[in-house]
């Protein structure tokens, strides 16, 4: 069974402090949904409101269409995987996994059988009699997942479950998690401050900042069509130019910046353009959208001097100082086996297309 989750006008306050501000989210059943935001933005708090450890100060949480107000965590069709896993140290692996069945009074032999099935699912067959501390970090992680799945929840809630693992294991577990989700077919709500995790695994991602949902979209939309300055600066890398809108033509705007006028696509929100002439604006351009101008067609061109070049194998990272300004920008070029053709310190012209630059109203930015 799987269920949809709906947050309607959810506010969560701790005294004067607002941890979640008017959150409206629809999560479809069977989807992998992530909340992405910097540490302290209220992700865990929101998850606790879904799992029932916390009642929202205002608004409703619905799971499978039912209002969850007044229903405790032990009565909700959710299972939460804690940031620190919270496995029971004095129980064996299989007792941990089958705890939800023990609670329901299922007979021991049957519990054992179900635990073995789940151990199979998480690729730890026959390890049921070990104690949790005898397992590696990645294995404990999977035991926590199995323990939560054993409760047969309609919605699985995961609170930064991979943050304690090393990089390699983390990447492996992403694939693993996604595969498990597709196998069991239930709704996953996943919390992370790691955009790589959110973008690779999720069907939809909600970007959060200080208790506010900035944008809900799939990964490529978030990356290519950010709707707020925060999303543009938090998701992926971006070059930022500050300025003022000079003119608006159709879907594009010309923004006067300290490196000259830049023609850019205007971000829309629900189909509405967000900028008007004379408004303060940010222009974001991704490093990989920048190219050396060798006679090609570009809407924008910037004179700059190469400050530094870094070779990263698949990419060249080129840092440039813009002429007549103190702006430093970054350009990423795919390594196609040929040399860059420019020396460090040489003067170059770089260009980019208007539709690859986005103009947004000024607003809070992600911390570097």
């Amino acid at each position: 069974m799987s269920a949809d989750v709906q947050l309607d006008g959810v506010w969560i306050k701790f005294g004067d402090f607002v941890a979640a501000r008017d959150v409206n989210i629809q999560i479809k059943e069977g989807e992998f949904f992530s909340f992405l935001g910097p540490s302290g933005c209220g992700k865990t708090t929101l998850l606790r409101a879904v799992s029932g450890f916390l009642e929202p100060s205002d608004g409703t949480v619905r799971i499978g269409g039912d209002d969850m107000a007044g229903i405790g965590p032990n009565k909700r069709p959710t299972a939460l995987i804690f940031q620190n896993l919270a496995l029971f140290p004095l129980m064996t692996v299989w007792e941990n996994i089958a705890f939800a069945l023990e609670v329901r009074g299922v007979r021991r032999a049957e519990r054992r059988k179900k635990a073995e099935e789940l151990l199979e699912l998480i690729a730890l067959p026959g390890q049921g009699d070990k104690m949790c501390h005898e397992l590696s970090g990645g294995q404990r992680q999977r035991v926590a997942i199995a323990r939560a799945l054993c409760a047969e929840p309609d919605v699985l809630l995961l609170d930064e479950p991979l943050s304690a693992l090393d990089l390699k294991l983390r990447q492996h577990m992403r694939t693993e998690l996604r595969a498990i989700q597709q196998r069991v077919g239930i709704t996953f709500i996943y919390i992370t401050h790691d955009q790589g995790e959110a973008l690779t695994m999720s069907d939809h991602v909600a970007v959060m900042r200080e208790g506010i949902i900035e944008q809900v979209a799939d990964g490529s939309t978030l990356y290519d069509r950010p709707e707020t300055a925060f999303v543009a600066s938090f998701v992926g890398e971006n070059n930022l130019f500050r300025g003022r809108v000079a003119e608006v033509t159709g879907e594009q705007a010309v923004v006067d910046t300290n490196v000259g006028p830049i023609r850019a696509r205007m971000a829309t929100h629900e189909g509405e353009a967000q900028l008007k002439p004379h408004e303060e604006a940010f222009v974001f351009v991704r490093p990989e959208s920048l190219k050396f101008v060798n006679g090609g067609e570009f809407d924008n061109a910037i004179q700059a001097q190469i400050h530094q070049q870094e070779f990263e194998g698949n990419l060249w990272q080129v840092f440039l100082d813009v002429a007549n300004s103190d702006k430093r920008i970054k350009m990423s070029l795919v390594n196609d086996g040929r040399s860059l053709g420019h020396e460090t310190g040489s003067d170059v012209t770089i260009g980019f297309k208007a539709e690859l630059a986005v103009a947004l109203p000024q607003g809070p930015l992600a911390a570097e």
């Binding site: 965590p73 032990n74 959710t78 620190n84 029971f88």
Partner: protein, 309 residues
């Protein structure tokens, strides 16, 4: 690590002066304060009670007389048991067990509340209000209980005012005052080990169990109690040993017809002027309580090392 290199490292770490001081202090503590008095008591308990002039003389030989007396009474009545003392002995141990269990039942919720529920300042205030009464002398506290439980004390007055009782109930004669006083006397030694154990339990484990649908009862029996077992055993051991060996509370709060085993020990030392028999009685109590604690640990599968953790 072999002992030689251990000592070398010890002196390297602490320096010669401090290292010597620590060694001497620890040795002094172990031998003079702990072992010697006990050894004297053991030695005493196996000798005849002799007038001072004969001590060290030809009659001063080892004997089991006092232990025999504890079990069989005076040698004249052949084949009879010392029922008076044995009854007191049994009653003392049984009562100590009940006081321990009562303290455990009372302190577990308090310790759990302090460790997992109460937050910050409120919790500290509660801990303080638990400790402060123990700044008052033990004997004064016992007398306060005596006044409280007396026929004209607050408890009787309250029960009579509310109509529960028609005439005052003699809590002291019926030993209720004694059990209450004993239960209260060592309550901190139950609360703090429990508190320490429960406090180190990750809140998320409780929440995880709850999230999987466990009732509060199951959470406690499956998650909290197993985790707190070392604290429980440490608290129970201390309360049991100290209750069985308590003297002030039984002296002051005990009913006129009932004796605590330590009171008999005290009588042999004091009124009976028979230190040898007193030592034997004290050692019997000590040995039996230790054996009982070890048996309880075996039953509940607690290791001695965990208890002192």
């Amino acid at each position: 690590m072999n002992p030689r290199s251990y000592f070398q490292r010890f002196f390297l770490r602490n320096g010669r002066t401090l290292g010597t001081f620590i060694l001497v202090a620890v040795a002094f503590w172990i031998f003079i304060m702990i072992l010697m008095p006990q050894i004297f008591m053991v030695d005493f308990s196996f000798r005849h009670a002799l007038p001072p002039a004969k001590v060290g003389g030809a009659e001063d030989v080892y004997t089991l007389e006092h232990y025999q007396y504890a079990v069989y009474g005076s040698a004249k009545a052949e084949g009879e048991y010392n029922t008076v003392d044995l009854k007191v002995f049994g009653r003392t141990l049984l009562a100590a067990i009940f006081v321990t269990l009562f303290d455990l039942a009372l302190c577990y919720p308090i310790a759990y509340y302090l460790a997992q529920v109460a937050s910050g300042g409120w919790g500290r205030l509660m801990v303080l209000s638990l400790i402060v009464p123990f700044w008052v002398n033990e004997i004064l506290r016992a007398f306060a209980f005596r006044i409280m439980f007396g026929t004209t004390g607050v408890i009787n007055s309250a029960l009579m005012a509310t109509g529960v009782l028609d005439e005052p109930y003699d809590f002291i004669r019926e030993d209720w005052a004694l059990y209450a006083g004993l239960g209260y006397a060592f309550i901190l030694l139950m609360i703090f080990p429990l508190y320490n154990a429960i406090e180190s339990l990750d809140k998320n484990q409780i929440e995880a169990a709850r999230d999987m649908g466990a009732s509060w009862l199951r959470i406690h029996f499956r998650v909290v109690v197993p985790f707190a077992k070392p604290g429980i055993s440490s608290g129970c051991t201390m309360v049991f040993m100290l209750t069985a060996g308590a003297l002030a509370a039984p002296q002051i709060l005990g009913g006129p017809s009932s004796l605590w085993f330590t009171q008999i020990v005290f009588q042999w030392f004091n009124q009976g002027n028979n230190w040898n028999r007193g030592s034997a009685y004290a050692l019997i109590l000590l040995a039996s309580t230790i054996v009982m604690v070890l048996i309880a640990m075996r039953i509940f599968k607690v290791k001695l090392g965990e208890t002192i953790r």
